[in-house]
């Protein structure tokens, strides 16, 4: 009696248990990372004497409470915002010191002098829908990105990347430090050519 060996445990249900756990983790997993539009807020402290900006260097976009768009005092559709913003940024109407040698715009003297001076001002109402606001933001960022892409490809024809791809490669942790260093200088040149000057007015209280 004492010599009886222990009975073997049946392992047939092991797979069932493992499957159960597997399905639980499959259901609860969220692998995807979030993405969105990155913005920087202005600091709170008031500027004592704000620099004087010429009206022609400001591109105003107003979204009202009915989600209608007013671009440079004219009622426009959102599909036009990107091309209008690009036209404004790329105008390069400045003379002499303000001249812009890489701009491909119309050089209209009544529009912006050069991309470094051009400011886009976005104003919204408290009743504006967030969806529309994001759509407008998206189009304005797209205008900057398209111009930056153009210049990046022109300056770095061998890289086989455009600005947006290079930027995401730069922020990718797998990129080697030496490549990052190279990308950083290339990116900052283009960023200086078309600085993202997107100002948001505080919403009107109504």
């Amino acid at each position: 009696m004492a010599k009886r060996s222990a009975p073997e445990v049946n392992a047939g249900s092991m797979a069932d248990i493992a499957f159960l756990l597997l399905i639980f983790f499959l259901v609860t997993t969220t692998i995807e990372t979030d993405s969105g539009l990155n913005r920087k807020l202005p600091p709170m402290d008031e500027v004592i004497d704000p620099p004087i900006i010429k009206q022609k260097n400001i591109f105003t976009v107003v979204v009202n409470k009915n989600n209608q768009l007013l671009v440079e005092e004219e009622l426009k559709d959102i599909s036009e915002v990107r091309s209008l913003a690009m036209e404004f940024l790329d105008n390069g109407g400045g003379q002499g010191e303000d001249a812009c040698d890489y701009c491909k715009g119309k050089r209209d003297p009544s529009s912006s002098d050069n991309p470094e001076k051009a400011i886009i001002s976005l104003k919204n109402d408290r009743e504006t829908s967030y969806k529309v606001y994001i759509a407008v933001q998206n189009e304005l960022v797209a205008a900057y990105n398209e111009l930056r892409n153009r210049e990046y490809v022109r300056l770095n024809p061998m890289s086989a990347m455009n600005f947006v791809e290079a930027n995401s490669r730069y922020s990718d942790p797998r990129t080697s430090p030496s490549e990052k260093e190279k990308l950083k200088s290339q990116l900052s040149i283009v960023k200086q050519m078309y600085p993202q000057k997107l100002s948001e007015a505080e919403p009107n209280k109504s």
Partner: protein, 160 residues
């Protein structure tokens, strides 16, 4: 010639399933390692707007999340149907955003405290008034890096 006698009978040998648990365990461990559990239950409707000029969000430990939107249907009779802010697991008013950001910042490691990003996960149907209020609160506590979290898609999906 009997050495090369054909095996009799056409029945197939049973496939051994002994390694099946191993395979399943391998998958299981993969998903266990890759899993990020949702850290707060959503109490608001959260259908994000679409955008295509997006950038990936930083690493998870550098991000704090602020949710906003209409309370979801199970909370509707208790909290009403106007858009609200959700911080961690409870509804909050705008004034609490600043304290929340400071608390979150204090809970992070020293070297991360200056590189924190605030991710705004706001429902598409929210009015901008609420979002502007949040932004003003963030400015007050000097949390200036902001990310409007979106879905990836054409902007035209936002206009109806």
């Amino acid at each position: 010639m009997s050495k090369f006698k054909k095996k009799k009978g056409g029945e197939l040998p049973a496939i051994s399933t002994a390694s099946l648990p191993d395979i399943v365990f391998m998958l299981l461990f993969f998903f266990m390692v890759a899993t990020v559990m949702r850290d707060s239950t959503l109490m608001v409707n959260n259908s994000l707007p679409a955008a295509d000029q997006v950038q990936k969000l930083d690493k998870k430990d550098r991000v704090m999340y602020i949710y906003a939107g209409k309370p979801s249907s199970r909370y509707e009779d208790k909290y009403g149907s106007t858009a609200k802010i959700q911080l961690n697991d409870k509804f909050a008013v705008v004034e609490e955003v600043g304290a929340f950001v400071l608390a979150e910042r204090a809970s992070k490691r020293q070297e991360l405290q200056n590189v924190l990003t605030t991710a705004l996960k706001v429902d598409g149907d929210t009015k901008m008034g609420l979002v502007s209020d949040i932004k003003q609160e963030l400015r007050k506590v000097n949390a200036l890096k902001l990310n409007y979290t979106t879905r990836i898609g054409e902007y035209t999906q936002n206009i109806d």
